[in-house]
């Protein structure tokens, strides 16, 4: 209990002090994870909708695999991306290993299945309700998928937020492909891991509290927007 008390004190100090290094680390965490989520959404939303609406051989297998990827361990993703981006690997010449770009890349890979799998479920549920009507009006499969994506926007926002949560909370992937370089690729989670391994537990936990608080604030804001919009549109 003593450690937790100290941690809360640390957290308060950190937030009140606006320590520039902390601000830089928090900023980087959010920018990396937001970018990753944007990429993941640009891929995952249409992919999920397409799988929901289309009928093709092997569809059930695709759905099972997609759902299984929800359990992809972040450290495994980190390792695979590292092997891809290493100079000894196929994408080595890009030279983005140990940079924030590599972290965005790895997190995007981690989050895309999450968004795709949940989108697939939401859109498929909606499709069951809308299929006949949309067909009757003459909507082709692409038009139908886009229409459903927009119609399911409230559930999908929650899905995207879930993806963001996964990204900003993970440490396995960014640690390996980013290298936790001070001032360059150190994010909240890797900083917490570092402080823990140095034995400075109150600071580590304090950083954790700061991270959780920020994510909580983000979710609260998104929820309010979602609720207001839902009241208006049903």
């Amino acid at each position: 209990m003593g450690t937790i008390g100290l941690a809360l004190g640390q957290a308060a100090e950190l937030i009140a002090g606006f320590d520039p290094r902390l601000v830089q680390i928090v900023g980087l965490s959010f920018r990396v994870s937001l970018s990753a989520v944007v990429i993941a959404a640009l891929i995952g939303l249409p992919l999920g909708a397409a799988i929901a609406v289309a009928r093709f051989p092997g569809r059930q297998t695709v759905i099972v695999v997609l759902n299984a990827l929800l359990g992809l361990p972040s450290v495994v993703v980190g390792l695979l991306v590292y092997l891809l981006l290493s100079r000894a690997g196929p994408l080595g010449p890009m030279g983005i290993l140990f940079t924030p770009m590599a972290m965005v890349f790895a997190q995007a890979i981690l989050v895309t299945p999450i968004i795709a799998a949940f989108t697939r479920q939401s859109v498929e549920d909606a499709w069951r309700e809308y299929e006949e009507q949309l067909n009757s009006l003459g909507a082709g499969p692409v038009q139908a998928a886009l229409t459903l994506l927009w119609d399911c926007r409230f559930s999908l926002l929650t899905t995207v937020l879930g993806g963001f949560g996964r990204a900003v909370a993970e440490v396995g992937a960014v640690m390996i492909v980013g290298g936790n370089i001070d001032g360059v690729t150190r994010v909240m989670t890797t900083a917490i891991a570092l402080e823990t391994s140095k034995g400075d537990l109150p600071l580590a936990l304090g950083l954790g509290i700061v991270l959780i608080s920020l994510v909580l604030a983000l979710n609260a804001a998104a929820h309010l927007i979602n609720e207001a919009a839902q009241r208006r549109y049903g």
Binding site: S86, A88, G92, F98, L146, L149, G179, T196, S197, G199
Partner: protein, 276 residues
């Protein structure tokens, strides 16, 4: 505006904003693969700003276990290696992955143990004797078990003590497979003996009931070496900037800076670069 156009606009705005990811800096920088214990000692935090101010070159340190650091070097993902496992480093050069190895500094290892000292090793100067006593008493001992330089040094000492770990191993010998800090955390919570580098120990906050029990044996000295990743093998390596850093580290000035790094008034690293 309804439907699809609005969706695209919103995504576009978010993407444009989030894409303000710091681009890989156009400033000069090199990538140095080093070890977690070196980084956690705080040496880099002290030394690198001095170097940056002097040369304008940003030194980016990726801190890993020695084994992983060497692997990074083998793959060409770093420009310079700064580790402390002389046999492994010499093999690295012999295999053609590194060039121009120079000795830089040494620090020492210490044996940490509970103040209660169940194996009765405290105050001794003979590390090998201490290891024998610990094994005889089957006292709890935490090992990093991660193929790091520290781990390799520990294993050499067991060998010197004539103890075959494979057969002597038992519940008293705990391998964590982790870095120095986490292993110390484990030892602290278990009140066990642990073989550690002094640097990490000095900055370690979660000591519990542990203290230094054996130090000063020459066998405990931990030699650091620095070298360039072989540019013949990896043409993209920043050999000029990398070599400049190496030259500075072993120069009089660099060596003075290393000696100047202290924790709680205590010097951690002893520069010992020789000419050439």
């Amino acid at each position: 505006m309804n439907g699809i156009p609005r969706l695209l606009l919103v995504w576009g705005l978010i993407a444009a904003h989030a894409a303000a990811i710091p681009a890989v800096a156009q400033d000069k920088f090199i990538t140095v693969a080093s070890t977690t214990s070196t980084e956690q000692s705080g040496l880099f935090g002290y030394l690198l700003p001095i170097y940056a101010k002097k040369t304008g070159v940003q030194v980016r340190v990726v801190a890993l276990g020695t084994g992983q650091a060497l692997d990074v070097g083998r793959r060409g993902d770093a420009d310079v290696l700064f580790v402390h496992d002389k046999p492994a480093e010499e093999k690295f050069v012999a295999d053609g992955f590194g060039v121009g190895r120079r000795e830089v500094m040494y620090n020492d290892f210490v044996l940490i143990g509970p103040k209660g000292d169940p194996a009765m090793v405290a105050r001794g100067r003979d590390i090998v004797a201490a290891f024998r006593k610990i094994q005889a008493a089957q006292a709890a001992f935490v090992s990093r078990g991660d193929k790091s330089g520290t781990h390799a040094a520990e294993l050499r000492l067991w060998k010197d003590a004539g103890i075959d770990l494979a057969s002597a191993r038992g519940p008293w010998y705990r391998e964590t497979g982790s870095g120095m800090g986490p292993a110390l955390n484990t030892a602290s919570s278990m009140n066990a003996y642990i073989f550690a580098d002094r640097g990490t120990w000095l900055s370690f906050r979660n000591r519990g009931d542990l203290a230094v029990v054996v130090e000063g044996d020459t066998r405990l000295f931990n030699q650091y070496g620095v070298m360039l990743v072989n540019p013949a093998r990896h043409p993209h390596v920043k050999k000029d900037l990398g070599q400049a850093f190496i030259d500075w580290i072993v120069s009089e000035e660099g060596q003075r800076v290393i000696a100047g790094y202290k924790i709680g008034g205590e010097q951690l690293f002893y520069p010992n670069a020789r000419r050439g």
